[in-house]
Subunit: 343 residues, 2 copies
């Protein structure tokens, strides 16, 4: 699915900042696309960007109204409908991360039909994909994998994109989850795809590219997560990564939502190599990204040094210490990584 920038961020009247986490992620990574926010009376979230009316946003050139908030049950409250309709009437598309489909509200559907607006529900896949073919495509791919869900796979891929571009390297973040789709304006919430087409969708997400170009694919789940490993497996096969980064949260004792213990980083490397070799025999790890926010700085540095020694890979906390050491390794292992011609 495609979401066209620039954006007006609609926050409704959500009760706290946490409910605007998706919207905040978009502002953090694509601040230049987020021209303003629209908040209803009672809204307790604030993205720290200018408040705008629909008319002001339209005048500023906004192309899409983003409903990037989570509220109880993921429903679309009736009293938000008139704002969405007004945005459509002002010429905007609308993209939503709610469970409720935008088109399920008759007023919204009618307005979109009348004005030719595109309604995008990023939680629901509407594209038809082919089944995965497993054929090698040109261009390089890096996938972030993890010991668990929610261990920094999206953040790591985005941090790599930012730092690689800063070095003049040709790299694109590829989104596989709803926040990522808003951030990159393109992608698929791969966990919403019909099971038969997981790897086919992953092939669509990171299509053939220029030799030396890197797609930095946002990972999902974990090969060791009893709820979601099927998604992880199909994403691994379809992404056919040349390189991967293992993401980890060192203080977690059981996997998210279940009672299973976390696998070790060595387990993840071993099984990722094993399964990833099916579609890319050259697959190799290039780094370990650890979320150390619950550790003191010296404790964090000691842990990272220990992991580097154990695995022979750069280990870093992308938020605390950046991802430069991982890029150093990537460029060393893949010396024909492409440089941006305009850099």
């Amino acid at each position: 699915m495609i979401v066209t920038a620039p954006y007006l961020m609609f926050l409704g009247d959500v009760p706290d900042q946490l409910a605007a986490k998706t919207a905040q992620g978009i502002v953090d990574w694509r601040g230049e696309w987020c021209l303003g926010q629209l908040r209803l009376p009672g809204c307790k979230a604030d993205l720290g960007i200018p408040d705008m009316t629909i008319a002001e946003a339209a005048a500023a050139g906004v192309r899409t109204l983003i409903v990037g908030v989570a509220n109880a049950g993921g429903v679309l409250p009736d009293h938000w409908t008139s704002i969405i309709v007004a945005a459509i009437e002002a010429g905007m598309d609308v993209a939503s991360g709610l469970h409720t489909r935008l088109g399920s509200k008759p007023e919204i559907r009618a307005a979109a039909e009348k004005h030719g607006a595109r309604l995008t529900d990023v939680r629901h896949s509407t594209e038809t994909f082919a089944t995965g073919k497993g054929t090698k495509r040109a261009g390089y791919r890096l996938l972030t994998v993890g010991t668990d869900c929610s261990v920094g796979k999206k953040y790591t891929a985005l941090a790599l994109e930012k730092a690689m571009r800063a070095r003049g390297l040709d790299a694109d973040f590829r989104a596989t989850g709803q926040t990522g789709v808003f951030i990159s304006g393109r992608g698929v919430a791969i966990d919403a795809v019909v099971a038969d087409f997981i790897s086919g969708a992953a092939e669509w997400i990171s299509p053939e590219a220029m030799p030396g170009h890197w797609d930095l694919v946002e990972g999902q789940g974990s090969l060791f997560h009893p709820s979601f490993a099927g998604v992880t497996m199909g994403l691994l096969h379809g992404s056919q990564p040349d390189a991967y980064v293992v993401c980890h949260e060192p203080t977690r004792s059981t996997m998210r939502g279940v009672q299973h213990p976390l696998p070790s980083i060595a387990d993840v490397i071993d099984l990722t190599q094993r399964c990833g070799a099916l579609t890319n025999p050259g697959i190799r790890p290039v780094g370990i990204a650890v979320n150390t926010e619950k550790l003191g700085e010296s404790e964090a540095r000691a842990l990272l040094a220990k992991l580097e020694a154990e695995h022979g890979l750069p280990a870093t906390d992308p938020i605390r210490f950046g991802v430069e050491t991982i890029i150093d390794r990537l460029v060393r292992d893949f010396p024909d990584t492409r440089r941006l011609t305009h850099a």
Copy 2:
């Protein structure tokens, strides 16, 4: 999904016997449920059961009209609609394996609403599942796995059910594909489930059962198939099998639909153990099922003897030589397998 027997098998006017393969499978395994067949002029398929009109079928007690044929594109031809409507008006439910949803035809939908008939499209999942929990459930489970798609996983599970029941053992086939759903009257086409819910659907398919009872779960795909391994992985985790049988076709050189070579049986055992241990640390292989139809009998026997020696497991062709040796191993390894009280 649930499909209620007995059945009237609707064959339409399909051009050959192959198009009625699903219907034939139902008759082969559940002949007692298939009271008759209904064929339109020009139909070139024949299930070898009595031809019946809708009225005759209703009088005989048929509960469900089964559209168990495949035609070009999986569409439902307009000229089949009146028969389906007539079945509904005679009090039947309708279950279809076509891509076209029954309810997409206004006449069918209207008749179903009027008469309270259940329309089941086995290719499309309508149930809402929870995500997989990975928690150990009571009862035993056996999963058929494979070196590839279409290597006899459904047949092997059904043959095991038949032979175990004949020995007075408490075992139920559990369907994960459309033909299997028709054969067992219950199940889910797991490749049609939303990716996030693969293992959750597998948990629903083989729920908690009596200690010593066996669910014989129809496997799908292969952990080594680049198109479908995600489905296979989620099904493995959700089924949490105590035992598995590896299914294989020895003359195939590349995997179905792609250019990848077949994995070895040893590869499949190794990766199935590795991944299956996540939700059942006691997982173990109990046999190898080989489709030897392209081999002569002495060649087939020699291959099976070689596989038995190599892997220390019973190896058989379920069609040619039955599955008794696999059941012997299963009962040896799981001596508290439950006997049917009425046997």
